[in-house]
Symmetry: C2
Subunit: 222 residues, 2 copies
């Protein structure tokens, strides 16, 4: 598969993991990595790595491996990260609060620039260097601050309404943490993270682990 054609979904889900591993390698001043290195650090098969990377183009050198800095740049480009993306959080409960302060977003090129809550007692409170805004400000704040992605951390019953409001405001990428299935119009990208689901999946494999030994390393959402 030569240069960037349609990239398989499964590959897209692994690219961020490679990126993480490559950053670690870069910190250790490693100039090049082999598919074998990358694979073992990412917890996948080496052939997998090579095939995944071949979807982006031919960025390796036979006999040598992949140039770390160069590969980081290419993956960032493919994922559309790098120029910092503006993120809003709707629903400032425990989880929303935690995500607003989560360092793992900033270090990956995302910046939380707005926070909203429907509860008047929360509106106006500080959240790091942000002020929690009322839902009625959503439309204006989204366009003023150039928000392109939003995290929904409301209770389940409020999530669909919030999603509708976000879509109406022009936000086209939603990451939903509320434990409910959302409907969005075509063209809007939606991903679901349900922490309860993760524990239940874990529970299944733990239960099995007694009889047949199973070791499941999985990526998120993946």
């Amino acid at each position: 598969m030569r240069a960037g054609r349609r990239i398989p979904e499964a590959t897209v889900a692994r690219l961020p993991v490679y990126l993480r591993v490559l950053h670690e390698a870069a910190e250790e001043r490693t100039a090049t990595v082999s598919s074998e290195d990358l694979a073992s650090r990412a917890g996948v098969n080496a052939a997998q790595v090579r095939k995944d990377l071949s979807h982006l183009g031919s960025y390796g050198t036979r006999g040598i491996g992949y140039n770390v800095v160069y590969l980081v740049r290419e993956i960032n480009r493919v994922l559309g990260v790098g120029d910092d993306r503006r993120v809003a959080i709707v629903g400032i409960g425990n989880l929303g609060h935690a995500l607003a302060g989560y360092g793992g977003f900033v270090s990956r090129g995302f910046r939380v620039v707005a926070a909203f809550d429907a509860d008047p007692s929360k509106v106006g409170s500080r959240l790091g260097d942000l002020t929690v805004l009322p839902m009625s400000d959503l439309g204006d704040a989204v366009s003023e601050k150039g928000v392109t992605m939003a995290l929904i951390t409301t209770p389940a019953h409020a999530a669909q309404g919030v999603a509708d409001a976000l879509v109406a405001a022009g936000v086209a990428s939603l990451l939903n943490f509320a434990p409910t299935t959302l409907q969005v119009p075509e063209g809007v990208v939606l991903r679901q993270v349900d922490l309860g689901v993760e524990l239940q999946i874990l529970s299944f494999y733990e239960q099995r682990a007694g009889r047949d030994v199973r070791d499941e390393a999985t990526l998120a959402r993946a």
Copy 2:
């Protein structure tokens, strides 16, 4: 495929989603659901639902659908949920704090019974009705409280050490939120949730959404 043989990984990942939908249906006093109902509420294809459920056995009635209460019981049994599972959280930063109070766990049969942190200034602080314990208490507390699953919410650099300690203490199911790949011995079940990865995947599809329209609804873990 008659009655419970080996259940495909992809099916296991969807069962908790069906469970969530079934609980919603139960609240609405719906006695039976068709695969079509279930599918549309879960965001998948109806044939998928039927095939998934057929792996558990034949619990539907042709011409009628599936009995909600009965199906909930069966899925819970297969997943090994129901008898409340004891969970520990290691790393009481923003995220650990939020997860300790997350209602979505309790309502799904999981109970957070212990919290640990390596930072002496956090040890002894209250967290709901728990007290944060030092890492040195991990072994004892795990066995006393019957912990079988743990959430790792430490910084990345501490995660492997914590995983090792948990495994040594006899915890055989780990859900890792730290953005790093962990190594665990055979027989230990490990799942990875990386919130930064989720945003990066979202970013990729958002970027595409302009040209070709893609709408990606995904379940967690994938």
